[in-house]
Symmetry: D2
Subunit: 309 residues, 4 copies
């Protein structure tokens, strides 16, 4: 049993016993039913060794983690022109804040807050029907994870569509500044659905590998993006991946990471590993409570912090 295997099992055990689990998001009705005790962890290293702990094969709603992959697709489609539509600075605000948009005339601060991810979805949608755009995103996830069984949980998407008033506000607000090209309903349709992609920790860790290895899948050798682009996506994950908890995540975990309100986090140890963790209880900033703690333990024990071994 490798060191990585031991550490992953150890952490999964420790997390199972902790009484503090955060609060499961209740604003998306379908997510409120998830067992707060669930915990999964999957790590896949440069050699392709996969270490799994806990419920690492249970699917969960990846939610905002999808923003990493839509950002990758949009950059592939329009390149650096994307940055005319969205910034890349931390916002210092919660994930769904609208204040900053008023001051900056509809340009979202970064692609990982909701407004920014909606602008990214608009870019992917351009020239397509919503169904096509969504198909492209889903196929990309299936390709990255090498798993055609990955699907969208349409009940979650429908639940968001019924109650996602704040995202609807953000999108209409950007539309009023001319920042969005497509009809708001089309954009949100795609957005709610790509957030509702369901994946397990194992699948997610596989999907993130290209970010850890200079844009390539080291097992297949297939290139997804250029090395520089992989580095830059990691940089944005580090500074912006956890909303107004991004500084805290960098401080404690020391890895680029992106959280989702479903309780998942994808974290990248450049050159070393791709990591996915899931525990549905959230902290005050909307990030997985145990997920962050597990990653802090992992990075400490493996010496993987990008800020010094």
């Amino acid at each position: 049993m490798s060191k990585l295997d031991c550490v992953v099992k150890e952490i999964a055990d420790e997390m199972r016993q902790r009484p503090d689990r955060g609060a499961v998001a209740d604003y998306i009705a379908e997510l409120a039913h998830i067992d707060p005790k669930a915990f999964g962890l999957a790590v896949i290293d440069a050699d392709g060794e996969l270490a799994c702990g806990g419920d690492c094969d249970t699917s969960f709603s990846i939610q905002s983690i999808s923003k990493v992959f839509t950002l990758t697709l949009a950059l592939g489609k329009v390149g650096d022109r994307l940055w005319q539509r969205v910034g890349r600075e931390p916002s210092g605000s919660p994930f769904n804040s609208i204040v900053q948009l008023e001051r900056e005339r509809g340009i979202p601060r970064n692609p990982f807050i909701n407004a920014g991810a909606i602008a990214v979805t608009d870019v992917i949608l351009s020239g397509h029907q919503p169904r096509e755009a969504l198909g492209e995103i889903l196929r990309f996830m299936q390709f990255l994870a090498d798993d055609p069984s990955i699907t969208i949980d349409s009940a979650v998407a429908a639940s968001e569509d019924r109650t996602g008033f704040r995202n609807r506000a953000l999108a209409n607000y950007m539309k009023s500044f001319g920042v969005l090209e497509n009809p708001v309903d089309f954009i949100l349709g795609v957005y709610f659905h790509h957030c509702a992609i369901a994946m397990s920790c194992r699948q997610l860790a596989l999907a993130g590998r290209f970010l850890a290895h200079q844009g390539r899948n080291p097992s297949t050798g297939l290139s997804v993006v250029q090395p520089e682009r992989a580095r830059r996506i990691n940089a944005i994950m580090l500074t912006c991946g956890h909303y107004d908890g991004s500084g805290e995540f960098a401080y404690r975990v020391g890895l680029p990471g992106k959280s989702g309100v479903g309780g998942g986090i994808l974290a990248i140890a450049p050159g070393k590993a791709s990591v996915a963790v899931w525990s549905p209880g959230l902290d005050a900033s909307g990030n997985s409570h145990l997920g962050r703690i597990a990653l802090e333990a992992l990075t400490n024990r493996m010496g993987w912090s990008i800020f010094g071994g």
Copy 2:
């Protein structure tokens, strides 16, 4: 001649020829006279090899770079209790913004915006006379750089003291929330003086070595801070070290760094090197224009980005 040496000389040459140099800060009268064509670069690697280019022995006002070292001192003095007085999230705002303080009842977002650094200075000052506190800071810099000739440019400090109305506003504002313990004039006296420390790129790169090497000077073996603390200071530099240009710096350079309005930047390549660059012209966010470009070239050519080689 080592690869590092070649790269450093190459970059210094390239920078000398660029016509775009940013604008020298004019709000501190003493700094307005600096030659905008100055450029210096010093890199010291894990083995202690020092590579120098351009005006790497010319002293400049380190200004906000001093905040890295006062943070280190304050953490040494009160440990994690410091975080009751100042946060560690990016602010998404310019260096001297006061808006966030009103909403968050006088607690600055992080120790690298002015308000946060003033709170850090207050911590260092407690129990001391201003002169003693300042002596402690200066001796710490001399110790780290192993150079007792480092001094404070009192003309710069006096210039700030006369015209630093916004810092005076920030300090009084925090004082009104009870966040500061000492008299505002004492705190600002120390603050303006530690910002006025004058150092060369060579001295600054030496002073920053402990951050690149798990808290220790690898040449002397002397420990300055625990490894975890060094990592965490690097994390804060990455997310907050360049004000509202922090995301951009992470995206382009991919190293923890801290800029000063005097045109200097200290950057840390964990496990690899400590880097100091200086060019007095600033970009719109108040960070050295050529300094950032030089660091981007350096990190690309040396493969030092923390986000993937």
Copy 3:
């Protein structure tokens, strides 16, 4: 010819000759075609004497002036419970600002900014179909002006419906806080249509009479609201009727007034007269440029300022 008649004619003449006319609103496509030279003024005093100048029988889109009448209806329906849904403080912000809503959890500052008027429309709509609610509002206007020919310009309403992204953002945003009860599309349907009511200055001055005379029409003796309610509506018009130009309007004109982006203003001289003015060119705050100047002349020459004769 009475003094009032002379003053009104005089002002209409003066306004015709002024070169400065402001800029016609172009964000509602249908309004962009209006002749910028149009000017109308109608004043009806306590005795029912009507003085008219310029294009006082030309219909224009009353837009936000309708908010005075929907506020009156909503207060009639739910009384002071309305103030649980909307405040009555000046906002210090433009008519369509969303920032304040985030800080105050979806409760608009007052019923005369767009967000507040949308909340008022929601109150009127409750228990009704949109068509019924709209019918009620239109019949109220016809009753007040004693003129069943008043109609809604459905081209203007349709134009707003197509392009009113910011109002859609405001409504969805409030909905996300649970401040609105009805479906957003229903509320906005009614809102866009009541803003598109077309009236002449003559009709509007008649409709506003109850506010000048303790809640009653002094000619018919019919009571619309209690005296205290009329006073209070006037107070809100004074402090909030011109968005972030409310202070300026109070300072220069000295009458409660409500402007619309169609270029109309309804102003009330309590105990003395109801005044409607129309000129489609707007100032930077979105209020009729010549309309305000004409009212300043009127109030000065008639000695009608509520702040001293």
Copy 4:
């Protein structure tokens, strides 16, 4: 006994019996000792009839009410050029907010929030020594009230000087934008002292008479300002006189008024009366709780609302 006399006595009796009194300001140490049961009311009508109730001859610290008189003096000194230094729009913010200053580059919204009053004091100070400027303000109050015994409570001024960190922040902040001409310490010295002027309700009602009567004292016939200026000062009092409670005051009381944190309010019934009320307990917006209630009763019973009899 006149109706006015009866109403005033009646209100003073009612107020004496109310259990709800608000909370005495404690941030100025000297004010914290005031008896929360104190209540005074003085009304002087157009004929010079004075009606007094309760503690109408007890001196209290007029605090921000002094801003009405410094505004009058500054307008006398520089006329409408004053409006290049301070706006006249309601701020929608608490009295000591600093946020709006950042967005509007140091120009305060109106002369009745602290920042605006500090800018007004700077105007009065220009060309004078602090002592002279203060003498001018004090003599103006003595002249208006026809009472040379009015003085400044220097203990209150000293208390503010020691603890007025937020005002010091506001002043330094404006100074950083170049909005203030004189040294911050000089301006604040004058500001803290004119806020510490001590007056009784009787004296204050006398001092405010010119605002009720077209700029003149109707008893002596002496003109203080032109009629238009009196109207305009009243307009600013109406829209801005009670900070973020200005809309509420207009809605309930219907008179121009200016409150002070000492519990006093000066209210003007144009053409009818000058009113001063004092009760030290404050509401959440920092305005006298019983003072506002007493004025609401007075204006209702006398039919003095400017928004309709």
